[in-house]
């Protein structure tokens, strides 16, 4: 059902934009849903797992400092196809945030602007399914870029690994697991839970790799519980952008 809804939205968007001249990136993005069908095996689809490092946690005030992404296709993480780019935030970075993500002001001073980086990123992502952990945060920046630049949000399907992991591993009904009590589905907790040793936390590409490794486990889990089709993936982990 979710795929159908995405298709309807996509159809409306395309009808609305019908007569405009669009760049290649925009045109390619508009056809992102073609070739997908609800019964597709989740292990055979193309995913782009991405993560943004930002100067803080506020979507309104903070700026993107780097974009990292990695491709998962045919169930395999492709190390030859990494996307990693620093972004010039156009403003100073607070000292507090430097200690978290370790990005120093001089690293981003020479970097391209967010528009340029997102433009490249959308070209890199093509029609792949986008995946992020706590996708709402990352998608906020991407959506506002796309709307500002092209007048429509990204048409790609989006999977939120946080939603998916919560659906597949529901919280315990009674008591709590002391190990992960505070934020059981945070990336840190999942790294610990799945004993993931690859990927440096708090770098955009490192977090993308970690999220991709989690995605692989979640896809295997879906198949194991007999929900290995795209429609299941979307209903258990699909990200729905808020109406704006």
């Amino acid at each position: 059902m979710v795929l159908a809804a995405a298709r309807i939205k996509n159809y409306l968007t395309r009808a609305f934009l019908a007569r405009r001249d669009l760049t290649n990136t925009a045109q390619n993005n508009l056809i992102a849903l073609e070739g997908l069908h609800a019964g597709a095996d989740v292990r055979h689809l193309d995913y782009v797992v991405f993560d943004l490092e930002t100067s803080g946690v506020s979507t309104s005030e903070d700026r993107v400092l780097s974009v990292g992404a990695i491709r998962v296709s045919g169930g395999l993480i492709d190390l030859d196809s990494c996307f990693h780019q620093y972004v010039n935030p156009g403003q100073d970075i607070s000292n507090d945030s430097v200690t978290l993500h370790g990005i120093k002001p001089d690293q981003v001073a020479q970097a391209p602007t967010l528009d340029k980086v997102f433009h490249d990123f959308m070209g890199y992502a093509g029609s792949s399914i986008l995946v992020a952990h706590q996708a709402a945060f990352d998608m906020h920046f991407l959506q506002s870029y796309m709307k500002r630049r092209y007048g429509f949000p990204p048409q790609n399907l989006v999977i939120d690994t946080l939603t998916l992991v919560r659906s597949l591993f529901p919280p315990r009904p009674f008591g709590y697991d002391e190990k992960f009590a505070a934020r059981p589905y945070s990336l840190d907790s999942l790294v610990q839970h799945f004993d993931i040793k690859l990927g440096v936390r708090h770098t955009a590409l490192g977090d993308a790799l970690i999220t991709a490794l989690i995605l692989q486990r979640l896809l295997a889990r879906l198949v194991k519980v007999g929900k290995g089709e795209l429609k299941h993936l979307l209903s258990l982990g699909g990200f729905q952008p808020k109406k704006t």
Partner: protein, 648 residues
């Protein structure tokens, strides 16, 4: 060039041999060509006889099971692979279907290197060629192991070190080009004569169109013709093997080895298309190795001087390393090393006798017996051991005591020095034949050992435990047997005080397992977080076996054999004893592995390992082993009621 942006991915691959041999640029390029896969526990990754592998698999975390299915569908376990280990290389290098099933035993993350990138590395880097030739040899061992139950690490075919010397050589380098052929109606007798004349081990039977129909080897001759009582005039076609396998001349020699082993053949035809261009036999492969143990043993036996022997040192070391790397049951591995060391010592004894004569000291004043002690006495030496030995000589004529002892001390010194030259350092505790304390006449030894047994206290128990694994090497082995009988007689008698104290001493070192079966590692110093394999693991088993062996009057000094006999006698629960034997074997292999690693990286081998650096399967087995040893110690304490002995 741009640095690879995922440091931990790079670090992991860099830490795995042979990738560690690549320079930064090459490494980054290789890592970029990799993909990361996840296999949930239970998933079949490769299927035996299925499609050839498309990738080389490097396990990053978790454990896979390598196994075969036999005709009845039953599973035969070949191996486990864990962190930092590979699978799929054989199928890749051969471009043939997978030889084994590979199944995820736990959740597995694996790095996949595409076939063409892997092959390019094997072509361009000797380290890769070497490494994966080993894995080929190991795999073929696995298949051999499962089918015959005994690994061919040292068969009469001389498979030792084969892989090393076959690297980079093709079948055409080693094959015989001039193939002896005969028509199918040739009488057996004629065929045999032709083979003898040409000095070859096989004859190919070919029809009118010259296509090979079958083969007859000298083994076939022996087993089918002679043993079968066949008429010498019968045609060769009646007994030939029509099951011919051929191989192309340009493939690697180890492919030929693999083929022969898999099909249990001793010969392969070499053909280019339809044309027969040569024949290759197991013997050709064996000859190519040059370093077969029999060759070295012959060289040792032929040596006339310490210098000549010392020159063989390197070869023997390489052979021993090769042996150990090939793997196999610990008892047989160390047994082979003991055999080499014994040969060496025997040779040194002869050389030393000659030198004494050359120095005008004359013949030995009487019969003597060289006693191998400690791990050497138990035939359990690994790569790095001090020399432990003693000398016993026939009672001298009255008045000649001093001269005789002098002669044997000097003689002992020559042998000890020879052993040093060969890489066995002098024993720090001075337990060597050149020391007055360890060089005695038969009567003195009898008196000494009886006294130790009758007066069990600190120093005597220590000496007894060092000495009582003695094994007579030469020349008068009769004394060694006699002394063994005497020692056994004296200490026998269930729960004699001596044995009880010996048992109590043997319980001093306990396996490093905590109450919750966690490892108890050293808390500080150089060995922080490490376990002492030798003192806390191996030694308790040796001591356990020694006490009970003396009690039972066993003549063998080998710990494995002692444990076998103890289990049969059932004075201690046989299941406990068998577990200890397994544990001993595992610890020994682990220690050997540790030594080899140290040697490969240029470190001084020691007996301390960090359990964190083991893979999960090894850790599991290490815990099992320590637990088994602890159970054995409890039984020993009960049997000899050691807690009621007062301290000495």
């Amino acid at each position: 060039m741009l640095q690879f942006p995922l440091p931990r991915v790079l670090e992991f691959v860099r830490g795995v041999a042979p990738f560690s041999a690549l320079d930064e640029g090459e490494l980054a390029a290789v890592v970029k060509s990799m993909k990361i896969a996840f296999f949930p526990a239970g998933e079949a990754i490769l299927r035996m006889g299925g499609e050839p592998a498309l990738h080389l698999y490097l396990v990053h975390s978790g454990l896979v099971r390598v196994h075969l299915s036999d005709e009845d569908g039953a599973e035969i376990l070949v191996d486990f692979r864990s962190e930092g280990e590979f699978f799929g290389s054989v199928s890749l290098l051969q471009g043939k279907q997978a030889l084994f099933n590979v199944t995820a035993e736990e959740d597995v993350i694996a790095f996949l290197l595409p076939a063409e990138d892997f092959k390019a590395l094997v072509e361009s880097h000797l380290e890769f060629k070497r490494h994966f030739a080993y894995s080929l040899a190991h795999n073929f061992q696995g298949s051999h192991l499962s089918s015959q139950g005994d690994p061919p690490y040292c068969t009469d075919r001389g498979l030792i070190n084969l892989d090393m010397s076959l690297i980079g050589r093709s079948v055409s380098d080693l094959m015989k080009r001039d193939v002896l052929c005969c028509p199918p109606d040739t009488p057996l007798k004629e065929a045999a004569q032709a083979m003898t004349r040409r000095g070859v081990s096989s004859i190919v039977i070919s029809g009118d169109d010259q296509g090979p129909l079958g083969i007859l080897t000298d083994t076939d001759m022996r087993s089918r013709v002679l043993a079968g009582g066949l008429d010498a005039q019968a045609p060769v076609s009646a007994v030939m093997s029509a099951d011919l396998k051929s191989i192309e001349p340009q493939v690697y020699a180890y492919d030929a080895l693999l083929n022969m082993t898999r099909h249990n053949l001793s010969h392969l035809l070499v053909s280019e298309g339809e044309r027969l261009v040569g024949i290759i036999s197991m013997h050709d492969l064996q000859r190519a190795t040059g370093s077969a143990p029999l060759g070295i043993i012959a060289d040792i036996d032929k040596s006339q001087s310490v210098e000549q022997l010392a020159e063989l040192h390197r070869e023997v070391m390489l052979l021993e390393e090769g042996l150990l790397r090939q793997g196999g049951p610990a008892k047989k591995l160390v047994g082979l090393i003991a055999e080499l060391n014994d040969r060496l010592t025997l040779r040194l004894l002869h050389i030393a006798e000659d030198r004494m004569r050359g120095q005008g000291r004359g013949d030995p004043p009487g019969a003597y017996c060289w006693l191998a002690l400690g791990s050497n006495g138990r035939r359990e030496q690994t790569l790095t051991t001090d020399q432990d030995n003693a000398l016993a000589f026939a009672d001298p004529e009255p008045g000649a005591e001093e001269d005789t002892k002098r002669w044997f001390l000097d003689f002992g010194e020559q042998v000890n020095e020879g052993l040093v030259r060969f890489g066995f350092p002098r024993d720090l505790a001075g337990m060597m034949a050149c020391q007055p304390d360890w060089c005695h006449s038969y009567t003195e030894w009898r008196t000494k050992t009886s006294w130790w047994i009758e007066h069990p206290f600190d120093r005597t128990l220590l000496k007894a435990s060092m000495f009582f694994d003695f094994r007579g090497l030469a020349v008068d082995q009769g004394f060694s047997r006699e002394l063994r009988a005497m020692v056994n007689q004296a200490s026998k008698g269930n729960r004699s005080l001596f044995l009880r104290y010996l048992a109590k001493n043997g319980l001093y070192n306990k396996p490093p397992l905590g109450f919750l079966r966690q490892f108890v590692v050293e808390k500080g110093g150089e060995r922080k977080n490490k376990l002492d394999l030798k003192n806390k693991g191996l030694l308790p088993v040796v001591e356990f076996a020694r006490v009970l062996a003396l009690d039972l009057g066993l003549t063998t000094t080998n710990t494995f054999e002692r444990l076998e006999a103890i289990a049969r006698n059932e004075i201690i629960d046989s299941a406990v004893v068998e577990d200890m034997s397994e544990a001993y074997s595992f610890l020994m292999l682990l220690r050997i592995d540790h030594h080899m690693q140290a040697r490969a990286t240029g470190h001084e081998p020691d007996n301390h390992i960090n359990p964190e650096q083991l893979n999960s399967l090894q850790r599991k087995m290490l815990k099992e082993s320590f637990a088994a040893i602890a159970r054995g110690q409890e039984e020993l304490a009960m049997h000899y009621v050691t807690d009621q002995l007062k301290d000495i």
